[in-house]
């Protein structure tokens, strides 16, 4: 009996004193950062950066989503400061904040054009070193200033971050004009190729943003942009396309008058490298299916010969890829199509000999394309 009383006392005492809430943090004492923008400062202060954070204002957010009544003030609050490093600047922001910053829900990071031109390496380290930052957050490079994206007043969604992330979500699977890379993927890519990668491009306008195309990173620095069409040309060649079933439409000039729009689905590609006269030649075989979604032709045929569109569509894809290749080979001279990685994996002996001078060789690499498209469907109308 005595023992039982003792144990009971210990248990009750333990549950009072050791319940582990001694540094508990109330939810309302935290502020969830949704998005971060990094900008370079103008001339004269180039080694400094400006960090912009957005946090939601829950009260406004509830009103905005509930509907009815006049639209409240913007549901997000902007925090800004300047400093030398990303984390140092975040710490400066806390000087003016009554709550603790919480980054584990930050799903978008935007880097401004000028900052990216100065080199990404100095910004990216903080996101890979600290576990507080999600590596699946999306990384964007912005035409102009990153803070413009964060300060945008979107009408479709109450929060900018949901708005732009949803654009990417649909864009990458439906129209294939943006390269859906998270910050973790970009960092991996940059490490593998020692500083070459593509990053999503975002262009802010007053009330909406365009997420399409990509920024070309060479040697950790932004060197230029690829348009949305060129990005799709690159995406055809990347392996990512094998995995997700993408769908994209393409316009064709038919032999008769008028355009035809086709949706492309189930694309796969196979790359093979052969060495000819000391230079690699890449043979890319692509196969896919298409369906007709729109026709401008007036003539309605009872017996439609779908095959007559196959040749033109193959040519159109080939042309798109060649345009994109030309741009990265001749203009930017940077291997963002992972040809070097392919050689490393499948031609290791050859790769050892050209590894050092690959940057100089890449612009002269020949690519032989073989596109094979089958048109399977024409909608519900002849």
């Amino acid at each position: 009996m005595k023992g039982k009383v003792f144990i009971l006392t210990v248990l009750i005492g333990a549950s009072i004193f050791f319940h582990g809430c001694w540094n508990m943090m109330d939810l309302e004492k935290k502020t969830f950062i949704m998005m971060m923008g990094i900008d370079a400062l103008p001339e004269g202060q180039q080694d400094k950066i400006k960090v912009t954070l957005t946090m939601p204002v829950p009260r406004q957010l509830a009103g905005a989503e509930g509907g009815g009544g006049p639209r409240p003030e913007t549901p997000q609050q902007i925090l800004q400061s300047t400093g030398n490093t990303v984390y140092g600047t975040i710490r400066q922001i806390t000087n003016r904040l009554s709550r603790q910053l919480y980054f584990e829900h930050m799903t978008a990071i935007v880097i401004g054009e000028e900052a990216a031109k100065g080199g990404l390496d100095r910004f990216l380290d903080v996101f890979q070193r600290n576990k507080d930052f999600l590596r699946m957050a999306k990384l964007y490079i912005c035409e102009g200033k990153a803070e413009d994206v964060l300060k945008m007043e979107t009408e479709m969604e109450p929060l900018v971050v949901t708005y732009i992330n949803q654009i990417v979500h649909f864009n990458s699977s439906r129209s294939l004009r943006a390269i859906n890379y998270s910050i973790g993927k970009v960092i991996t890519e940059l490490h593998e190729t020692n500083g070459n990668s593509l990053v999503m491009r975002i262009r802010p306008e007053k009330k909406e943003a365009v997420v399409a195309g990509s920024a070309v990173i060479k040697n950790w620095k932004l060197v230029g942009w690829l348009s949305d069409r060129e990005t799709r040309g690159i995406l055809w060649m990347l392996k990512e396309i094998n995995r997700i079933s993408v769908e994209t439409s393409i316009e064709l000039q038919t032999p008769q008058k008028g355009l035809v729009v086709l949706d492309l689905v189930n694309f796969t590609n196979k790359t093979k490298a052969k060495i000819q006269d000391g230079m690699p030649v890449f043979y890319i075989n692509m196969r896919g299916e298409a369906r007709i979604v729109e026709k401008e032709e007036r003539i309605i045929k009872k017996e439609e010969n779908l095959e007559r569109y196959e040749k033109p569509i193959e040519q159109a894809i080939t042309k798109e890829i060649n345009n994109a290749l030309q741009k990265v080979q001749d203009e930017y001279r940077v291997d963002v199509v992972n040809f070097g990685e392919h050689l490393r994996k499948y031609r290791p002996d050859y790769w050892e000999t050209v590894k050092e001078k690959w940057d100089l060789m890449f612009p002269h690499v020949k690519v032989v394309l073989n596109v094979d498209v089958k048109i399977r469907r024409q909608g519900i109308f002849k």
Partner: protein, 364 residues
Amino acid sequence: MLTKNDKITTPQTIVLIITTLIGVWITTLPATLAEKSGPDSWLMVIIGGVISVLGAAIVTSTGRQFPEKTFIEYSVETLGVFGHLFNLGLIIYLVILTGMVVRIFGEVIKVFLLDRTPIEVIILTMLALCVYLTRHGIEPIARTAEVLLPILMLPVIIIYLMIILFNGDLSNFMPFLRLDFKEIIAGTKATVVSFLGFEVLLLFIPLMQNPHQSTYSSFVAILMVSILYLFVVVTVIAVLGIVETSLLIWPGISVLRMTETAGTVFPRMDVVILSLWSIAGFTTISPMLFASAFGISRILKAREFKSFIVPLVPVAYMIAMFPKDVLEARKAVEAVSNMGLFYIFVVPLLILTAHWIRRRVLNR
């Protein structure tokens, strides 16, 4: 099967060895392998597993010669004075290994979960928990392992399977077989190190109900652990690639934080793995702590091992706090593991030879 003679059955032995082996290395092994042997890492896991099976065969077949005795007794019986030296070395090795495992366990908890809790508290709490279990002897340890093994294995397998199915790229394992001899040795050694822990069998064989089944049970256990390790290494490297894997300190956990496709179903799966982490640490540290105390009691010919457990805690704690950072702790583990390899491959063979000479040559 609730026996009360403090002996463990064969299935219990298998489970006990599996949980002892699956420990803290599961998160660091991909990084070590990616760094040392690149795309052929998966092959190194297989070679390492085979070598560990070989080591287990040596350890257990030595033990089976003396089914009633532990290493502590038969080493003295066969090797004389050197036996005492080896006994002391074994205890020191086990205590150092316990300390290192508990340190690496604490580092991960501190980095990913309790970043403001002092690591001393994490380590001491863990050791206290293990003391509570080990004081009751081998049978509760084995039964705890039986209960915890499915809780540990199933989520790990399901989560990593989802990740590799959605995000894996097996071309990361190209080019195939381009290793020189040195890299094979380095990679294999890294794997064998992560299998360390089955040398507790040196002490546990007389605790088994059927000592002659010890070889069989260690084979099964190492096979299971090899499959799990292979699976984790392949998943991590297939998702992250060789370069990124070798740059991360805990790639096994980091990979859970950066995958996205599977994350739409269950976001933030790292939390699950981190809670299993304490189980993995607990089931590794307890048998080692028990083995150290049990060994000491046998050296001193004491009737009870219980009184030796608590004095071991401050020793293990001090060893755990000795390395100044994670990388140093990992280096220390590699140094200690050489000693483990010595006790698996060299000492049992010495004992077997001495035993054979005594029986065949001297007794005649």
